[in-house]
Symmetry: C2
Subunit: 217 residues, 2 copies
């Protein structure tokens, strides 16, 4: 399918390369449209990869990923534009991280609020699904990099959209175990994993880990 | 050993009953010293259980648990008193939950701060170890209630204290897998699990679950 990725950083390029390798057409969106290191990315992935502005990428994709830093995510949604976003599935991978005191970060949005909810409010017709924000980029596209059973948390208001996201992440990346935490307000829970995730990353010295929920079935 | 438990709610009573059954002497501390439902608890657990004020329980124990609601935890530490707390190991089980908008709660303390850190600051000589705050009471005392591999997060500034806590929780309750997240400031990470934990509880309809960190060893 045609997929638009908002953000040309490590996450956006990693997801984009893998999606192209799985046969999808991918357009990476950036502020300028020529996308910094995007030229190297297109040279690497070949003809199925292209670059554009945020609005170009949003218009191109039948399904969209939001992969920018949390601090600019809402601006990027505005730049993409309501018309291009339409009622598309928008997978929100961003996290509202506060690095103002270095590593590990805190959250810039917390309590009875979350970045996921603000993104849904900024794109009210889009079907926002928060997902992949609780794992590192190499794990996003290859969960088998982490041994054993482990889970991908996702949430969003539209059950059909969550179903589409699960199907894509299973088919393109190999995800098997999903934990649906509820509506988009459950982003308050999954974004709040980051203060622990970043500490574990520091302790382990590797991002190749993930959460699993153990319970009776 | 002699153990003081600050708080006579479900968590304090559950931990206390199990510790008595494992041969420990336990004093439950409350504001009044006669401890609400504490009388029923002492009748149930027998001669090795006793009641007292927060200061009584703190003075009694060679090791202490703090099991009150987060909103009163700092006051309880003050009532226990610096002299009784001494340099004892204080296992902080409390969470700074904000139920002002119902369930699920948010956190009252977050960002570059945590309740664990405030408790350590309020009892600077005590060796505070944050632990057990990420599982429900039935799981605290019997981790086998959750099938499969799963982990207990703990943190604190004193490595020897963390070692003592692991040994007690292994011996008394059967915990096998610990994830040491770092110093007491890592409470920012483990307390932040609660917004997700409470949502999962709502989704699953059972508190019999726990987190596991999957990773390469």
């Amino acid at each position: 399918m045609k997929i638009g990725i908002l953000g040309t950083g490590v996450v956006g390029q990693t997801l984009g390369e893998k999606l192209v390798s799985r046969g999808h057409e991918v357009r990476l969106g950036s502020r300028s449209g020529s996308g910094g290191s995007g030229a190297e990315w297109t040279a690497k992935v070949g003809a199925k990869g292209s670059l554009g502005t945020f609005a170009d990428a949003a218009a191109f994709g039948e399904l969209l990923f939001l992969c920018t830093k949390g601090e600019v995510a809402l601006e990027v949604v505005r730049l993409a534009g309501a018309e291009a976003l339409g009622a598309k599935v928008l997978i929100d991978v961003s996290n509202p991280l506060d690095f103002s005191r270095g590593f590990p970060p805190a959250l810039t949005i917390q309590g009875f609020d979350s970045l996921g909810e603000r993104i849904q409010a900024a794109a009210p017709n889009a079907r926002v699904v928060k997902a992949l924000n609780t794992v590192a980029a190499p794990v996003m596209i290859d969960p088998a990099k982490v041994p054993g059973e482990h889970d991908l948390f996702l949430c969003g208001n539209d059950d059909a959209a969550k179903g589409e996201v699960k199907a894509l992440l299973a088919d393109a990346f190999g995800w098997k175990n999903f934990v649906d935490v509820g509506g988009i307000e459950a982003s308050r829970g999954t974004e709040a994993l980051l203060p622990l995730w970043t500490r574990l990353y520091g302790r382990f010295g590797s991002p190749l880990f993930n959460f699993h929920i153990a319970r009776s079935e």
